[in-house]
């Protein structure tokens, strides 16, 4: 799985013309969102909603609100980024990457570690709050923010949130019966589609890295590795407070450690058009995403199981 990503990364850094069509990449991401949401919903239907759901949602939202402040402070200290660019990057790091999350769930299931089905809903809830914090940081620094009801609407009903939550609800409503009918679709080929999708992500990340030499300072690269670690620590703290299972804690760490590369970039283009999009994307997709995939997730899982106990 990780190897697919590495293959993609290699191919694009070696300037191979291997590429996945945009429509195919979107289709795979729709499939992954649908499958992961549905499976989360079925799990909730099976085990019932334990009392921790609301606490986990609240914890996730709090993380998404607060992590941008940490990211912003780090960036302003360690890089020469303007307040505007730093805030845009901070929004990405407060929000989450759903592919990183999906990869973590599949690492967990490969190791036979259970996790709370509702973590899918927590993931959806963590997409947007970071944007508020980032815009507040920008507004405070005096720059113009283009934020209106319409953009809120776009953010809260963005495709991945709607599909994830919708599939979650469908899974929760149809439960095991629904799962029986479509498990050949959402379970069996899941790993394989994820492989191909990570191959594509590797291609995109590699291209970003290649094009971004010069845009990114050393300080920024360090940030791209340190920030997920700090995020994971914060995520672990929240998980311990809430009392999540080891699997759930590993997922919460992963969410906090991951950085958005779909929803937040589009929102930033509308709200902060003067921020340079390639800085955020290179950091989130070129540094933090590979870091989480290769080093991060295994570590988060190991730490979570070690601390909370199998």
């Amino acid at each position: 799985m990780i190897l697919s990503f590495v293959l993609g990364l290699f191919a694009s850094i070696a300037r191979s013309e291997l590429s996945v069509p945009e429509a195919a990449a979107k289709m795979m991401s729709l499939y992954l969102l649908f499958a992961i949401g549905f499976k989360g919903g079925v799990a909730v239907a099976g085990h019932g909603i334990d009392g921790h759901l609301l606490a986990a949602m609240a914890g996730g939202i709090a993380l998404s609100f607060l992590l941008p402040f940490l990211a912003f402070a780090l960036l302003r200290m360690s890089t020469g980024l303007s307040a505007l660019d730093a805030a845009a990057v901070a929004a990405h790091y407060g929000s989450i990457s759903i592919v990183t999350f999906v990869t973590a769930t599949s690492v967990l299931s490969a190791q036979g570690i259970a996790s709370e089905g509702y973590m899918v809903a927590v993931a959806a809830a963590m997409e947007a709050p970071a944007i508020v914090s980032a815009l507040w940081l920008v507004a405070r620094s005096g720059a113009g923010v283009r934020m209106d009801a319409r953009l809120w609407h776009e953010i809260l009903l963005n495709g991945s949130i709607v599909l994830l939550v919708g599939a979650f609800l469908i899974g929760a409503v149809t439960g095991e019966a629904g799962m029986d009918r479509i498990s050949a679709f959402v379970v069996a080929p899941f790993q394989g589609v994820l492989c191909l999708f990570l191959l594509d992500m590797g291609l995109v990340a590699g291209r970003g890295l290649r094009d971004a030499r010069g845009v990114i300072s050393l300080g920024a690269v360090v940030f791209g590795v340190v920030m997920p670690i700090l995020g994971a620590v914060a995520g672990l703290a929240v998980a311990l407070i809430i009392g999540l299972s080891p699997g759930g804690a590993a997922l919460m760490m992963t969410l906090a450690a991951s950085a958005s590369y779909i929803a937040v970039p589009a929102a930033m283009r509308v709200a902060l058009p003067e921020a340079n999009p390639s800085i955020s994307l290179t950091l989130s997709l070129g540094i933090t995403f590979p870091f989480n995939l290769t080093v991060g997730i295994p570590t988060y899982v190991a730490v979570a199981t070690a601390i909370i106990g199998g």
């Binding site: 945009e22 979107k26 995109v204 590369y261 779909i262 929102a267 058009p273």
Partner: protein, 102 residues
């Protein structure tokens, strides 16, 4: 065949701004336009391509044919949206058939 002077306005704009632009056009009374996909490009903010992307990344090209006397209203409306954004706007003299449509 009888043709009539018109303007061809081509606006290349970020995809997340597309609906804002077309709404602004419609508010300014421009109800005819066509949206073309864009594969990639290069500009002051670097080179990009749409391959393998998942989000609403990338740009689109919006083409409007309009009567010359309505050009200024269109440009004002479009500019209100694209002003702070990356992208380009060009205006070319052209001829259309079936002028009653514009």
């Amino acid at each position: 065949m009888q043709t009539h002077a018109a303007k061809r306005v081509e606006i290349i704009i970020e995809a997340p701004m597309e609906s804002r632009l077309t709404d602004a056009l419609e508010n300014a009374g421009v109800t005819g336009f066509t949206v073309l996909p864009v594969l990639g490009g290069s500009g002051r903010s670097g080179r990009w391509t749409r391959e393998g992307q998942v989000g609403r990344a990338g740009m689109v090209a919006v083409i409007c044919l309009i009567r010359p006397d309505r050009l200024d209203a269109l440009l004002d409306a479009a500019f209100g949206v694209v002003e702070r954004h990356i992208g380009v706007v060009s205006v070319t003299d052209t001829q259309v058939v079936r002028a009653e449509r514009f």
